[in-house]
Symmetry: C2
Subunit: 248 residues, 2 copies
């Protein structure tokens, strides 16, 4: 298809592309992507990460990276590195609270540049943190990376799982393999009395996995340390004894 | 501007338009919109509600409405009603897990139809539940409804507040008045031992309010009943004694 720009991650490339999707916002896509990337890097793999949430990029914050525009060489971007992961994010090009007020076509264009105009080298894994929704960005990535595999993230309740199921359905329609479903914020253990609370209910992730013919990869508890590590820029995967670290 | 379609909610209309925005997904925009709409209807106002989250519509679920396409009259849609609120949502036109795989221009077109091709009558309030992001839908609504006012919803942590701040900044740029900021999931009180936990930290909402020159409207606790009421289709505003009900 001449309309689709070429990328170094096309069919036959050695890089395994993992897109972390949900459809629903705020369920933990960035948290799961950040931790997975760090866990893979800690095992000695070369890892790249694209923060594809152009309107709401949080990956630089979660990796403790300054929002400063990266250097360029030969007209391509040199991706900055943190915790052993090479990263590209819209957040590098914005003031803190500056909104990106773009219509659809600009989003697709940004993804083409993140894939084609960055000196990625030849990573073992390229992780893509998708934005909420099933629009321009998801569509452009699906078209440019036919071999990408998908990890679906959801929280347990219906209001999230019914929307996350749309991302799974989209992957099936565009013929991308779904590796599995991660249930995040699955329960909260009160640090004071040890009681377990299912604030967001349970069962939503299994529903998605069953409907999409895939597996539940794991359950991550709702835990203050996971949130504060995200705000502080040190992904919990760095600390294997934390409950979330152990899952990654 | 001849390019902008006319709506019954233009300047001078009696309807007060409130857009509930965040930029960040999963912070409680739909929950706040649903409860605010029910609280206003309980006080005797005529209320309309547009679920503008085309990719991830959850309003029908939160109002217990079947996802069945509404009737039409004279070529316009008759908005179904629940809990005293007239509602239009993309969710009425979709199978449960069916993704909307549209690029930007289709989104703007859908908003024009939700505003102009629905028999709203002349409600006192029209609430608009905005999707995450600051793209096509937010831009089309901002252009079509110059007199709309904005309520910004966030959860307390940096990862959410820094993104929600972009929606506030966009409102300032498009000259829409910001009524205030709602902090949701502000704290969790353990039902077993009564201990208060700030799982998502605190302070993010105040930061946004200060930077945008507006006020904090209130704090809503993280509470299983709010989540289960949303999944069950009975917005907590119906029960004034619940912690969330009291705020609304
Ligand atoms: N298991 C968890 N426990 C506590 N907080 C979490 C957990 N997972 C995510 N968070 C927090 O919830 C917020 C939303 O997560 P994020 O990864 O940004 O979601 P998304 O990318 O789906 O919008 C972030 O502040 C993050 O730190
Ligand atoms: N204060 C709260 N306590 C518990 N659950 C909540 C609260 N506010 C929202 N939720 C739940 O969190 C999920 C996300 O909320 P939602 O209103 O859909 O957010 P958004 O519209 O910003 O994506 C929903 O399942 C909702 O029921
Ligand atoms: Zn307790």
């Amino acid at each position: 298809d001449p309309g689709i720009p070429s990328t170094p991650f096309g069919p036959g490339a050695k890089t395994r592309v993992l897109a972390v999707a949900s459809g629903k916002g705020g369920v933990g896509k960035s948290t799961v992507t950040a931790n997975l990337a760090v866990a893979l890097a800690q095992r000695g793999h070369a890892v790249g990460l694209i923060d594809a949430d152009v309107y709401g990029p949080t990956i630089p914050l979660m990796f403790g990276m300054a929002t400063v525009a990266p250097a360029s060489r030969d007209g391509k971007l040199v991706p900055p590195e943190a915790h052993g992961v090479k990263i590209v994010s819209m957040g590098f090009f914005l003031e803190d609270d500056e909104p990106v007020i773009w219509r659809g076509p600009m989003l697709g264009r940004a993804m083409e540049q993140f894939l084609g105009d960055v000196l990625w080298g030849s990573p073992d894994y390229l992780l893509i943190d998708l934005p909420p929704g099933t629009g321009d960005i998801a569509l452009t990535i699906a078209q440019m990376l036919p071999a990408a595999e998908v990890i679906v993230v959801t929280t347990p309740q219906q209001a999230a799982a019914k929307i996350a199921a749309k991302a799974a359905k989209m992957a099936l329609l565009t013929k991308h393999r779904i590796i599995g479903v991660v249930e995040n914020m699955a329960y909260f253990v009160c640090p004071n009395c040890g009681e377990k609370h299912f604030i967001f209910g349970h069962g939503g992730a299994e529903d998605i996995a069953r409907a999409a013919g895939t597996i539940l990869l794991g359950r991550i508890p709702l835990d203050e340390m996971t949130r504060s590590a995200g705000d502080a820029g040190t992904p919990p995967a760095l600390d294997p004894i934390s409950p979330a670290g152990a899952v990654f």
